[in-house]
């Protein structure tokens, strides 16, 4: 075990995939000499050469479209989208091409493309640098969507995503890039939890709190604070947004009877809506209260000085816990 930042853990995971599988290639803007704007690909071009770690023109549709062609040729492209807000210009390639090529070709052409996207806010960034676009991709058949929350998962799940024969949208919470955690780089990948499995981060008995990515650490803090208040919160890191591990969520909700889902992305038709609806369908008779969502507002991402009013923080998550417990009136709306 070594203490690594999430960014460094990703770097080592990518390095291992590049070393283990000669069909793995990396494409993106500034990923070569610069090592990426977050340094996730630091040193990889120097080690593996410019044909395997490719700086591309500034054209996201071009990056995704050429990744499709590389996959046709038998490669496993790993694409870096520099910032979440830049993925939209590649949206057609992802939705109309990457997601459905397997179906279009009746299974003949697999596109094992990993699309890495730094995601979310909390970094005081400029416009288009703090988006949470995950729901678009969860809604698209043919894609798998994951978001990592810890350096250990960053190290293992990036390798699992690359090895997966389906296209994977791989979200990296940028405000956790430089948070350190213990990583076992020696463990065999086969022994790691499956990419699609949720993880109970903190066990608890009163409330199930489901979240993912950058908010997992906040949720753990909230569970600690709630425990001081005598409330036992079970924190589940969803890890895979599509397919979601509904079994793990349902098992928890059947024990606690109360569900809070938290994410940075907007409220309307967000991942929280899907998780809450599925849990309600599957656990209706176990629920003591209506599920509560704690999410970003249905607004364009606000200016940096106001983002704390948009991204759920510890207090807003605790407020959600209070509401699901009936301690404060639950209006069914997001608390501002």
């Amino acid at each position: 075990m070594t203490a690594l930042t999430l960014a460094k853990a990703l770097n080592l995971g990518l390095r291992r995939s590049l070393a283990d599988d000669p069909s793995v290639v990396l494409l993106g803007e500034d990923i070569g000499r610069l090592g990426g704007v977050f340094r996730v690909t630091d040193g990889l071009q120097a080690e593996f050469g410019p044909r395997r770690v490719m700086d591309t023109p500034l054209a996201e549709a071009g990056i995704l479209g050429t990744a499709v062609g590389l996959a046709f040729r038998g490669y496993r492209p790993v694409v870096e989208i520099q910032f979440d807000g830049f993925v939209y210009v590649a949206f057609d390639q992802i939705v109309s091409q990457v997601a459905r090529m397997l179906a279009r070709t009746a299974g003949a052409v697999r596109l094992p493309i990993t699309i890495r996207i730094p995601v979310g806010g909390g970094t005081g960034a400029a416009e288009h640098h703090s988006e949470s676009p995950e729901a678009y991709f969860v809604h698209t058949a043919g894609l798998r969507v994951v978001e990592v929350a810890s350096p250990q998962d960053a190290y293992t799940v990036i390798q699992q995503a690359i090895a997966c024969d389906d296209p994977v949208i791989f979200f990296e919470p940028k405000r956790r890039y430089y948070t350190k955690g213990e990583v076992d780089t020696e463990a065999a990948l086969a022994d790691a939890p499956p990419m699609g499995a949720a993880r109970v981060v903190v066990p608890g008995s009163d409330v199930t709190l489901v979240t993912y990515g950058g908010l997992v650490a906040t949720a753990v803090d909230a569970a600690t604070a709630a425990a001081d208040d005598g409330v036992s919160v079970e924190v589940i890191d969803l890890r895979s947004l599509s397919p979601a591990d509904n079994d793990t969520v349902a098992a928890s909700v059947r024990r606690t009877g109360r569900l809070v889902v938290a994410h940075e992305g907007p409220h309307e038709a967000g991942v929280g809506a899907e998780i809450a609806a599925t849990a309600t369908e599957r656990c209706f008779e176990y629920l003591e209260a209506a599920p509560v969502r704690v999410t970003g507002h249905d607004i364009p991402y606000p200016p940096a000085k106001l983002e704390m009013h948009h991204v759920p923080d510890l207090d807003r998550i605790l407020d959600g816990v209070d509401r699901v417990l009936g301690r404060v009136p639950s209006t069914g709306a997001v608390v501002a």
Binding site: G65, R73, V109, G142, R144
Partner: protein, 428 residues
């Protein structure tokens, strides 16, 4: 692969098929160093070896790419036969749509020389990415005629295995595939790097592809004049140019993007775009099968030998509707269509072959016979194409297990099973 039939292909039908090997392996000659051609159809810069009256005009620069064909009557007849058969498939498909047997069909009438000529320049190990109108290219690549139609009948998402013929299945998003061709070509370049690391067959997907090449494979991306305005196509030019990727962009300028004339896409000849991207640009009379064959061979040779990508603008005309759902009488004059009928690609090549004595009455009868047999087989095969079972819609969404989708499938299967109970047990 499910859904691929054993239907009759071109190779089964064509008595001249043996000539195709000669046509598709000609790779000698020096790279074409022709500068960017500019000017409209028929202008000084447009390559035209066969004029609309079927008169062959010598051109040492281009004739060297036709040395084998010019001396091979069977090869010449094969080009004619393929154009005639493609037109017959197109005619049959249009009729089948009118008869309610197809949901839709995008006719290729008038573009036979552009497609057959360019497709004959390809090697088997080259790869093609095409739009939804590349029926002629697909036919020459070996796609069974019925497999061209099953998608348009609504039976399948696409009719064939791309790796069986090294041609991707039709792309409906205009220009969306141009980038795929560039990526594939980047992969050809990257192979050298990978092969230095591991054995050639060391990686997944590698052995799935048909006819592995020696590293000199090239790619052709086909699209039309409308696609020239798409971002994806322009990004493809950027990537191809900066990578010097072994790719040929084959733009069939058929003058119309549904109702929009090419002037709406570009104020300059489409081929003039090439220079700004660092591509070699060539404009060719797209209704001259020999000219198209020559410039495509030159472009592929350039691609294979490190000369970089080429944009070919084949100037042609879509004589039919955009699709069978379109009514071109609303946006263009009959006289314009008539003018292009006089430049018909098959008529001019027929006149040339008659004049040369290659196309005898007997040979002509053979060609007609192949077309008749293709048409008959097409109808028989289409009628025999089954509708896939309902639950097949859940197949091939993911390559690996997906419990959420599997639960959906199982629930729908249970729902369908309820009707089976009804059928077995009578009314509820």
């Amino acid at each position: 692969m499910p859904g691929i039939t054993d239907s009759t292909t071109r190779d089964d039908l064509s008595p001249a098929g043996i000539a195709r090997e000669n046509l598709t392996t000609h790779e000698s000659g020096a790279p074409d160093e022709r500068p960017v051609d500019e000017g409209a159809d028929g202008g000084a810069g447009t390559v035209r070896l066969l004029d609309p009256d079927g008169v062959r005009h010598p051109s040492p620069e281009h004739d060297r790419w036709l040395a084998d064909v010019d001396g091979d009557d069977r090869a010449l007849l094969q080009l004619l036969e393929d154009m005639v058969v493609v037109r017959r498939i197109d005619t049959e498909a249009t009729a089948l749509q009118r008869q309610g047997e197809l949901a839709l069909w995008p006719p290729v009438l008038g573009q036979e020389a552009a497609q057959v000529g360019s497709a004959h320049a390809l090697r088997r190990d080259d790869f093609v990415f095409g739009s939804y109108r590349e029926h002629g290219v697909a036919y020459v690549r070996g796609v069974a005629p019925v497999d061209l139609l099953r998608e348009w009948r609504g039976l399948v998402t696409a009719g064939w295995d791309p790796y069986a013929v090294n041609m991707a299945t039709p792309q409906v998003i205009v220009g969306g595939h141009a980038l795929h061709g560039v990526g594939y070509a980047m992969g050809v370049l990257a192979d050298a790097e990978r092969d230095a690391v591991a054995g050639r067959d060391a990686t997944p997907g590698r052995d799935a592809t048909a006819g592995r090449d020696d590293g000199t494979a090239a790619v052709v991306s086909y699209f039309g004049d409308g696609a020239m305005s798409q971002g994806a196509v322009n990004e493809a030019f950027v990537f191809a140019g900066t990578w010097s990727a072994p790719v040929v962009f084959f733009c069939q300028n058929n003058q119309w993007a549904i109702s929009e004339p090419v002037a709406l896409q570009s104020p300059v000849p489409l081929v003039a775009r090439a220079a700004g991207f660092g591509l070699t640009g060539v404009q060719v009379d797209g209704n001259d099968v020999l000219g198209v064959l020559a410039v495509t061979r030159a472009a592929l040779h350039r691609a294979r030998t490190g000369g970089g990508p080429t944009l070919i603008e084949a100037v042609t005309y879509r004589r039919g509707p955009h699709t069978t759902a379109d009514d071109p009488t609303r946006y263009r004059e009959a006289a314009e269509v008539e003018a292009w009928v006089r430049r018909d690609p098959i008529d001019r090549f027929t006149a040339y072959l008659r004049d040369r004595g290659v196309l005898t009455d007997a040979a002509d009868a053979d060609v007609r016979d192949v077309a008749d047999r293709v048409a008959a087989a097409l109808r028989t095969d289409l009628a025999a194409s089954p509708t896939p079972p309902p639950l097949s819609v859940f197949e091939h969404v993911y390559a690996e297990p997906n419990p959420v989708l599997e639960a959906e499938r199982d629930a729908y299967a249970q729902y369908l099973a309820g009707f089976a109970d009804d059928a077995a047990g009578g009314a509820r």
